[in-house]
Amino acid sequence: MIKVLFFAQLRDKLGVSELSVNSDENPNVQVLLNNLKAKDNHWEKTLASASLMVAINQTISNKTATLSSGDEVAFFPPVTGG
């Protein structure tokens, strides 16, 4: 399984902070994103932002990165700390 996390306005819009997906059906970040967008129109729109950031196992990554079982994938909007 892969653990998927959402933060800040992304979490608020989706109404979900965490979910689990099957690792066989989600070999990389792009496929995972496509599968999440396929849920419905609202997910599709919310995850469409070009500025969406992704971290794999707590390190900033990108959409071409591959995934394996046990990974923690986080999606979030551009960060605004500091």
């Binding site: 933060f7 800040a8 306005q9 608020d12 707590q58 909007p77 960060v79 605004t80 700390g81 500091g82």
Partner: protein
């Protein structure tokens, strides 16, 4: 030293810790505060959300990059999370080095990367009591460009 905490921090204590190392000739500090106005709105409070499992790791990686680029004696990064009030301190970055050039560059580099790579998100409450997530500033993204030319 890297700390992510809800408590306030004390400038003097952090500065004193940085200046005490042998050979230190220069200390540069940056402190970020909750402004009373942002993007034209009068602000009354600020909440900082973060990604707890990742935050310290991200900051440690940024500090490590700075240490590999400049000659640094000591470095401190403190970032607060949770509910903050007007004029509260949000973030402290302090760098001690032999000469000033290294401390200035490293301190600004750490802030520029923190602003775009560390998983913190600000939610502001305005004077009407409305809350909204703060938009990322384009200028924070472009601030990174200067470090690619060096």
């Amino acid at each position: 030293m890297i700390k992510v905490q809800s408590e306030n921090f004390n400038q003097q204590i952090e500065y004193d810790r940085l200046r005490q190392a042998s050979h230190t000739g220069a200390v540069v500090t940056f402190t970020g505060l909750v402004r009373d106005i942002n993007q034209g709105e009068q602000i009354s409070a600020l909440t900082l959300e973060h990604y707890p499992a990742m935050t310290e790791k991200a900051l440690a990686d940024i500090v490590k990059q700075a240490q590999s680029r400049w000659s640094l004696i000591d470095t401190t990064v403190i970032h607060r999370v949770g509910e903050l009030q007007l004029l509260d301190q949000i973030v402290f970055v302090g760098v001690a080095s032999l000469h000033r050039g290294d401390a200035f560059a490293a301190c600004e580099f750490i802030m520029d990367y923190l602003k775009t790579q560390a998983p913190f998100w600000k939610k502001e409450t305005n004077s009407q009591g409305e809350s909204y997530w703060v938009d990322a500033r384009e200028s924070d993204q472009s601030a990174l460009n200067k470090w690619h030319k060096v």
